[in-house]
Amino acid sequence: MDNTIKRRPTFKIDKNLLWGGIAIAFVVFLLILTALDVNDGKRFSQIVAGGLYQGMLIFMVAAGLSIVFGLMDVLNFAQGSLFMIGAYVGVEVLSGLSNDTKTNAALLSIHVVTFTPIAVTLLVEIGTWLFYRFMSRQSGGVRPSGHLLAKLTTAALVGAPLGVLLGNTVANDLGSSADLIRVIGAVVVTALTWVDIARDPLLFSIKWLFNEISTRFQRGLAIIQGHQALPVEALKYRPSPLPENGVPIIQLVSAVLLSTSLGILFNSTEATTLRFGIAATAAVFAGALAGVVMETVFIRPTYVRPFFQIVLTFGIALVVREVIIYKYGVAAKGTLAAHLPSTLRGTFPPAFLQDVFPNLETSISNYWIFMIMMGLLMMIGVQVLLMRSRIGIIIRAGVQDSEMVEALGVNVRLVFTAVFGLGAGIAAFGGIISAGFISINPVMGDLYLLQAIAVVIIGGLGSYAGTSIAAVVVGITRSVAEYFAGKQFNSTGLAPVAVLVLLCLILLVKPSGLFGKEH
């Protein structure tokens, strides 16, 4: 007898793939619906770009929320406050930096002489430390201390003047569109430098270079003398006798490159870029600091009482809002549009692109594109950090089982604090970025927090990719809903309702969000 049960072949679709496909299909459906209704390229591009930039701003609040919840089960209601702190700190710094040309010139020269090399050295040091702390492939590798003074001197003497020179040349040659090119150049050079740092600096030390040359020399000598030469690989990777004393070349090179790029960036004809950059930096650091303090002082004692944790962060949000109202009043403070670099103030496409593509008709503000770019940068940056670095491994392992990670000897508390600070920094960055376009007021944090919570829940708590996708979905939904509500009912206030209804529906269909773990 044939006892075997005949089974039909099962087709199993990966759940994440399925829900991701549904989310993307939903966005495409919305866009097609809008495109059919609009019949106007300008308006349509506005709707899409508007949705995207809103999604990106929401994402910057939601990123920290998502990672923090995944890692430590804390739903941080104060994330919106950090967003707001970023905006207000930016305003404070920008109003502190005067508009006066003389002051600006002084600021610039002081900056070029002092800040650039120090910042560069610090960046290189932090990068090297981070690399050896979290990313190094070698276990127990020796960390080269490097010569701080050497790097500082190199950066100050070579990098900064080079940057200023190059910046001047570029500015004179290219005229009005120089700013954009400067920014792009600086970003590219910085990115290249960081990619270099991420590789093993030990291999690029002077000792290594010496070793390499002498190896090849020996090998050539052996061949000339008619001996059997050892393969290069056998000689090449032998341990350097005193690696900790070598100054990694890559550090010098990256110091020069970085200071050059910063010099190019900051040597702009108008100092607005510089000031905006300083304000953004200050905002990010203030936000990260606030996040770290929040975690250590308030969240840490309440890990054993998760029930109260939500309530506590809620209270913190309340206090931050009230303190800001106490200091600045209830009224909105307006945008930072006047403080923006001229490149960011125009509309897309710029004149030279319009010459090339005369049919290209959009009326998107450059700033929208800037916000979208920054959001994408954050999105990809955090993704890379999570997937490609050692701390990312720790975070992902912590999301699965933080007690196990702790048992393996990782200081999870420190990682918690760092991640909290990271999320806070991203939120604050979102705040200062949004302040360039959206009027600053004491309830902006609450507004973005609501949307961010919707995003995090839709994406599934603890899933970073889910948050990224959901941010785009929510942004586009909001923008499309705004368009249709304005057209059909003459009331754009329905747009947030659409997002909330979407959230409720998704919770009804899939209680743990699109990509969340089943609980």
Binding site: T302, L318, V319, V323, L450, S491, L500, C504
Partner: protein, 469 residues
Amino acid sequence: MTQTENRLRRRHPLVQTLYDNWPYILALILLWRFPYIVADITNSEVSPDSPRVVSEAKFWQGVMIEVFTLGVLAISYNLMFGFTGLISFGHGVFFGTGVYTVAILVSKYQQSFEVSIIIALALGVLIALIWAMASFRLKGVYFAMFTLAFAQIFYELSKISLFDFLTGGDDGITWTAPDWINAVRNRLTLYYVAMAVFIFAFMLVRRLMNSPSGKVLIALRDNPVRAETLGFNIYLYRTLSIVVSGFLATFAGIMHTVNFRQAEPTALGLDRTVDPLIMSLIGGIGTNPGPVLGAGLLRIGEQFLRKEDLQVDLNFIIFRLSTTVDAEKYWAVALGIAFILFVLLIPYGLIGSLNKTWIEIRRWGRKYFYNPLVRKYPQLATWAEPFTGEPPEVAKALAHIPPEHDLKGWALVYPFAAMNGVTAVIGVLMGLLSWSWRVAVSWMLFLLLISVPLRIIALGQRFQKKRTG
């Protein structure tokens, strides 16, 4: 009849009930006589003939009506958050239902006041049912977020101009309450009606929590998996909690709109969650009198603290340190900071900490003044019941805990022992700093005063840590 038998004698159930609830009965009598007591103290009329005149007594009646309203809201919030363990961020939706339904029905559709109240309550229960049914698969944070989104939908809808004909948009609706319950013409009646509603809400939740269903709700909070394993239909009990809570919150909304005769979008907003949350936290979540106490403390305290600029005289702390604080601006900040401090330091609120401290004190009593009678009949240890509401099981369990330390002699000198070396040194230092023996002595006295409650709270927390592990 021996002494033991005398103390164990059975009382008539009514007498026993009165004996057990004496604080509540005292509070009831005080609330009943409140308008007249205030009128006597301030030497003003209880209900002036002209409705325009707002005498001191009438003003305080208004404050108390607000206390009753917020008390009902806080009781309803506490039922969900404190007893059932469901974090709700959308209580505004029930409150707003009460506010808007009555206002709309009376002002736009000319319905009678009584009918609109009934319709509002029915609508509140209906929304609670929808809420419970829609969220029955959600737990913890997801549930909280669902409530937030659900309430925010209504909030956004009430603001937009699309429904102006119904809700009046941002401006809201102004309507007139019938004369007999009008807060301007007949505030004393409204006071007693509000008090009746408040007592009804309090008794309802108290009865519910003392019933077997209430115990299931607590089990749902403490260990939902176990409750489900024991065979309870946890969704049914959750629905019960949400519906009763929604019903009471709708009632609070109706009281609010009757008192102020208007409906605004803020009635649906997040503030209607924040207020009862803070009140429950300060009074003590998961206790019956806690939220009421919190509501009373905040709303009445506000009257004294918010009105005028506060002259803060800190001369006794540091010499020549006195400043004027703009109380109106500081109020919200101070409230938020109090909120955080309560969550961090006194998470179970005043009543909750008191409960735990009573338990601790009873333990001391057994340790220091060892009583063989209590050892034999643990139910005698329930003398503090009216305050604590602790089930006798706890007392029974505690009666057999062996004494850990021999601190007999310390009981009398405890207040002085609590002021340890560090605080004494601080006192001396501050005295030296301000170069005045008066300051030094007042610092010592101040530290002595605050050290006792702090120490008691700390003991309660130590106990609480020990119990939870």
